[in-house]
Symmetry: C2
Subunit: 504 residues, 2 copies
Amino acid sequence: MMSRITCPQLSEKITSAEAAAAEITLGDRVAMSGFTGSGYPKEVPGAVAVRAREAHAAGQDFAIELWTGASTAPELDGVLAEAGAVSKRLPFQSDPTMRRSINSGRTEYVDTHLSHSAQQAWFGFYGNLEVAVVEVAAILPGGLLVPGSSVGNSKTWLDLADRVILEVNSWHPRAYEGFHDVYYGTRRPPERLPIQLLEPMQRIGDPYLRVDPSKVVAVVETNSPDRNLPFKPVDEDSAAIAGHLVDFLRHEIGAGRLPAHLLPLQSGVGNVANAVMADLAASEFEGLTAYTEVIQDGMLDLLDSGKLTSVSATAFSLSAERAADFNERIESYKGRILLRTQEMSNHPEAIRRLGIIAINGMVEADIYGNVNSTHVMGSSIINGIGGSGDFARNAYLNFFVSNSLAKGGAISSIVPFASHIDHTEHDTQILVTEQGLADLRGLSPQARARRIIDSCAHPDYRDRLRDYLDRAVSANPDGQHTPHLLAEALSWHGRYQETGTMRA
Amino acid sequence: MMSRITCPQLSEKITSAEAAAAEITLGDRVAMSGFTGSGYPKEVPGAVAVRAREAHAAGQDFAIELWTGASTAPELDGVLAEAGAVSKRLPFQSDPTMRRSINSGRTEYVDTHLSHSAQQAWFGFYGNLEVAVVEVAAILPGGLLVPGSSVGNSKTWLDLADRVILEVNSWHPRAYEGFHDVYYGTRRPPERLPIQLLEPMQRIGDPYLRVDPSKVVAVVETNSPDRNLPFKPVDEDSAAIAGHLVDFLRHEIGAGRLPAHLLPLQSGVGNVANAVMADLAASEFEGLTAYTEVIQDGMLDLLDSGKLTSVSATAFSLSAERAADFNERIESYKGRILLRTQEMSNHPEAIRRLGIIAINGMVEADIYGNVNSTHVMGSSIINGIGGSGDFARNAYLNFFVSNSLAKGGAISSIVPFASHIDHTEHDTQILVTEQGLADLRGLSPQARARRIIDSCAHPDYRDRLRDYLDRAVSANPDGQHTPHLLAEALSWHGRYQETGTMRA
């Protein structure tokens, strides 16, 4: 069996997770690899959590700032949040324990566009980075690193950190070599150059991450799977949303506004994304491509179906079964999948040039098409904005999708005024619920409102939304652009908080 | 005197504004040149307005859709709105009569990112374009056009329109030739290429607009000045805002996060922008550059001072005196000023690469840093988002500036919840009022709120903002990320609507 560590200088640094964790001290800014539950370090975070618990038991402070690519897993966000070891978190998370830590005020959270995180760290906007903890599939001579199932911000963390801890996880196939494209052409203004990327699968970087071996303070060997959440079968509502969306793509081809092979697809994580992929797999479409953040089960299925020729992303997010299957058949995917740094997968320059079709979930939209992607009832964070803003703003077409109802009908996802706004009316183009699709391009706010209510709102709430709009129109003779009743605008959320339902 | 029209084929099309206006019919989509009151057609719009009035007097419908670069002037937006001749308007306006027409519901308004307007029109998202009316300084053989004081969307309007009307305005110096860079490398996805722009003054296009002479149905000769609003002397509050902002730039240089010559400047239109330019002109800075939308008096002064070496923009917006002076001394500015299409001046790819320092005004910000740039009390539009989103999202640093008070203190520009959101918490970095500057980079929402209230809010409103935040924190034990009291969040605006003041 081939050794995973063939760099003599770094072989000498092999140690335990506990010894590695001793390199991390109170107040450090610690940046870890990991994106949508893949490619995150599996053991050092737990060892840091043990240190934190011991310190706290002894009456001492112990907390770090935690930076990642995006969301990780219970072995990282979960254990560190549980141990009360994270004072500040960025740029994205989706872990239940970390979410509680943020919403209870124990952890400060800086919810950042994913394309902004690496560059802003490099610009020095977040302070000095003391430690990077990066999981890889192999270490080659000279400090070349073969990433595993995600790239995320690892390139930047390795570049910036004073000290580096590597986890070499032999669960990742050694054959990951050749699946990555790490762009080393980044510069800070005013020295920046055009990114010469012309099509989704073009290689513009190196197949390896690089680390200065003299900065590496510890190498930890692991053999542990990624998070690998169970795949949920496509439900009826998700299938309906996907149906509306794919029909609309056909309509746009017919109108001459999309080529027959579409444009590169991006889809956020979740059930609807998988449903869209399933719909496309069963469709007449051919020769599709994807330029996205995350490869889920549905996208691998679409690739297997032959409808999708290739996919560029920054990470996988697979079920356990699909991950095991992928790891077994990995060689068959080589040349059809490329994992990039998240500053390239989400780069405005690339997204706008390639003309992406962007599909992202939402929590709620208001009648004018302002979208909330992050908060429940204005105050509590769910996950974060992630890459949805990078993609929506720069896409050729953007879709925001949601069921029209939540909590068994107690919540309408179409509301008079969004309780938090992550994507403004200037950015949102097409909203889709299981009820239908609202194409908002080129419409004024009032026309948008009529279309959203008619096409997307659940019938149980439609009349009340129309009533709100009608009364707002009447009450604002000099405010017909975006008529609102400010005293009532957030009352649907207030009613839910007081009575448990938005229903009258 | 050199003739302004040396294209034989187009000389034959010279006619009156009235005859030209007859080419525009009910329901046409009509795209006109013009950006911040410069380079807009001066006579044809008025002749269209006369037609509209005559039709209306005869009991007939007459309205058009009106597209432009950005804001125009009374002779365009004003007369057409006054005549009730505009059914839909995009992508930006700032005319008092047009604003009333929108807010009274006579005109639908599609408030669009200025970098999106040309491409989305080309993609077909707004429908077929029947007529373009474009003002130029001269017509050369073969349909080459010398633009005047703005470029805006003229390139796209000339490309897309079925029929073209040209106004040749001899008020613009003939010496404008050589001041423009019209990028003809645009393509639609999936054929797009990198924009090979590496520094603000680089020429990547042609010095001329192009028109297919066979599409030109009329040429109208005019001699009429641009809007040229009076220059307002810098007031005390604007000077204070500029002072905080320029001091902060010094601080960032000291911290190693900005080079000594800064990075290219962008500044929105207005008094604060002029104040910042005045502060820089009196400062120790040297070798500055600008990559912006609009050149105001203050920026010309800065150029004259020698502190600013050059400026790329898409339009001028000068006082009458400064315009007259510029027109007289235009040759002395050649090589130091370049006017581009607005899709290039505002292009995310260029803005992110060059690393712009973006300075834009705001109407209000909420305590978490969500910014309203467009609406009064949620319902009425003021102007529009313009390029503020293009610049803020992609800038190296972005500033949003405002006085802390409006309406003699009856309105606080820092509020619990913004009544409209154009720039979200994910995008806004630095807020400045005459009270001080809040650097929000890398802060969680609660930390942002404390800093905004302490640094930017007027002392008259600070305690009540703190009280709102404190009570929101107490009321949301499980919503500590962005604590709000939804029943109260918009009550400050409601109080203003009911009592004429936000004061308690």
